[in-house]
Symmetry: C2
Subunit: 207 residues, 2 copies
DNA sequence: GTATACCGACCGACCACACGGTCGGTGCTT
DNA sequence: AAGCACCGACCGTGTGGTCGGTCGGTATAC
């Protein structure tokens, strides 16, 4: 009773595999950014990649694995941007580095969308990206607190500056600005807004 | 060939309808907050309400209608909290009002969760809450800008304060803090963090 | 006071579809 | 001959939503 499988399209070209994988990750990044992880179907990613669903699942055993790949890729791209080649920035330089990051993100709306969506979705402990988001935040906070702290030691930042609060609110500003920017990209400049914030903080706590 | 429908359970009590509706809205608020709109099924809401799915859909014609009801309820509860009975607060008082709001939100994690999830999900223009989120933000921004502006006229806030940026970054801080707080509710106090921010801003731009 | 008509609350069965994932293949390349 | 890239068919499950119906209560007609 089994129907013989149909022939494939003649024009079919099996690509290098590495390429397909990379394209799938790029497509998934974009779709996860637009409609979230839950809101994106494997089939949709496959279609835009130019594969069948099974073809995509050949490269990534599950949807969660695809998400992992996306996150790893983001880490790889962003990874050393803040750490920089000359060691972690100290004191106010950290805020400049953050401003540069914000400026860079203004160029890459999918990555911003991806992160905002994911951060919200992954509040749920069972979400496959929960641990990742968690680490992302605590890593960022640690980095910033250390920078501010050593800024104090160098006498660049006031001794009585509330280090932890400064770190938390700075991260909060970045997140919140991203949210507003995604809603209305043309109506504002994330970079300018962040710099206004940084200037305020600086004026208040410079030694 | 049709099977006769079974009798209902004897213990069944048709409640006032108004009650069922209200309970459903409360349950939906909580579930949408925990798992997002997309991540919550109508059946799950129905079950926790003590209704069948059809029973729930009897009160709300669609899932989107349920969401609308949830948002309207939130607006109703929060609505005049900021506007206050004595007209909109002016100048720095606006920041006190916001601090009070943040303190109040620390008590109601579902509402915070609901909003954070929804704000992220509804970035997508096709989302049923897109317009709502949009209005929510622009309303809040208008309110804050006006408050700061009139603070300037009263000579309480420096003339050269960047009004728009101030509004945007303040809203951003609140959103960002909510995000961090949802991820780690016990590790921080939203209120304290927001007050630290407000103090910084005040110190910088008080006239 | 009883029969009748109607209404709102609610339910079980069902539907079409989309989902993530499996399985057994085919065909190209080496 | 082996291995890789890939596909079509299929499956179980969950989804939002529809449909026809039951039930208790209340207003009205007689």
């Amino acid at each position: 009773m089994s129907v013989p499988p149909r022939y494939r399209a003649k024009s079919r070209v099996d690509v290098s595999g590495e390429e397909s994988r990379a394209k799938a990750v790029a497509v998934a990044t974009e779709l996860f950014a637009l409609t979230g992880f839950k809101g994106t179907s494997v089939a949709a990613v496959a279609a835009r990649t130019g594969l069948s669903q099974s073809g995509l699942l050949h490269h990534f055993p599950s949807k969660a694995a695809l998400l992992t790949a996306v996150l790893e890729e983001r880490d790889r791209q962003d990874g050393d941007f803040l750490a920089g080649s000359a060691g972690p920035p100290l004191g106010w330089a950290a805020f400049d580095a953050l401003a540069a990051l914000v400026a860079r993100n203004s160029t890459r709306p999918h990555l911003v969308g991806l992160f905002v969506r994911l951060a919200a979705e992954a509040t749920e402990p069972a979400h496959p990206a929960h641990a990742w988001v968690h680490e992302h935040y605590s890593g960022l906070r640690r980095w910033l607190t250390e920078a501010v702290h050593s800024g104090q030691e160098q006498g660049e930042i006031a001794e009585d500056a509330p280090v932890d609060s400064l770190a938390r609110m700075t991260i909060a500003v970045i997140d919140g600005l991203q949210q507003q920017w995604l809603l209305h990209p043309d109506a504002m400049s994330m970079t300018a807004e962040f710099e206004a914030f940084a200037a305020t903080v600086r004026a208040r706590w410079a030694r």
